[in-house]
Subunit: 198 residues, 2 copies
């Protein structure tokens, strides 16, 4: 029998994706489950619902709750958190890099570095400089990966992956998919892992 | 020190309130936490967000996910579930009865009976006959409680309680409140109980 696996669908601007991104590799390894990293963009998904901003901004009462809830969760997970001064942050380049590198051995490290930059360092993760710094920090040739990420093929690849997310019924991040079975939200990580091991 | 307590804010039509309503009394008792039952209406809360139907109907992709997610959760909790043929069901009378009876010793039993009627028996919980049947089933004088629930004072009381929910920052159900600290969603029951015990 091949090793069970789980798709992790995430977006770098997504608040609840942060604790999942930081926890998933270790949690999945402990359960003997392989992680398939699936960066995508929430913007086009939200647009289909008629939202042109984060629902946490459109509905301030939900937004206020989310920041407090995230703070409590991160405290439980012992994860640092500093509310980003800009939310949501555009992160297309980072998503394109993650998309072309999603099968690389270092993808988890790159993803965690980007989330730390956004939710701890309050860095402008939309800028090429910050993405380059993240790649350098994990010892990868930054310029090479950024150029590769900006090719027309790579742009198209992220678009297709976002379309695939929508086709899977994904409407938010993080989401987990196991054999077509969809789990939405950081709260569902353990349940998704249990499903993968069935 | 007095016994820690937790407010349970619920609405009879709310899908995720169902598993919380069925679990909360036993879970709280096991943790030595008292439950303060707080029925309210989601309609006026949703109206403030510009929604005039359940968001699960307004956003079908979320609705499809919710029904599947609820099915998985109820299976884990070993709770029966039959998708109601009408959703959401108006349940103002049941909420008014629960509101006037929220401090009675039998409130938990009445609440569970109503949820079972909606999410297992697919009964028209909006009708006075069904509410009366629920009261009779738990051995209470149905007509007396229904008349009491329909008095102007009782109607006003549920309105005020719904206003209080909004003032607490509540935007969905179920919600749990401990000393003004808000927890939203069935997923947060354990965390809210832990908070109450701090």
């Amino acid at each position: 029998m091949s090793k069970p696996s789980l798709q992790f669908w995430f977006e770098f601007a997504s608040t609840y994706s942060y604790p999942s991104a930081m926890r998933i590799q270790r949690a999945a390894a402990a359960d003997g489950v392989a992680v398939e990293w699936r960066p995508f963009l929430l913007g086009p998904i939200f647009s289909r619902q008629g939202w042109h901003d984060s629902p946490f901004n459109i509905y301030p009462v939900k937004g206020r709750y989310m920041w407090r809830d995230l703070e409590r969760l991160c405290s439980e997970y012992k994860l640092p958190l500093n509310r980003p001064s800009q939310f949501p942050r555009g992160s297309v380049l980072a998503a394109r890099v993650a998309c072309v590198a999603q099968a690389e051995a270092w993808i988890g490290e790159f993803v965690r570095t980007m989330y730390h930059l956004n939710f701890v360092d309050d860095a402008a993760i939309g800028s090429a400089e910050v993405v380059a710094a993240a790649l350098q920090a994990i010892g990868k040739p930054a310029q090479e990966w950024i150029e590769r990420a900006q090719s027309p093929e790579s742009k198209e690849r992220l678009k297709r992956q976002t379309d695939e997310a929508a086709a899977l019924g994904i409407f938010g991040a993080p989401s987990f998919v196991v054999d077509g079975e969809l789990f939405w939200g950081n709260d569902r990580l353990q349940q998704a892992l249990a499903w993968a091991k069935r």
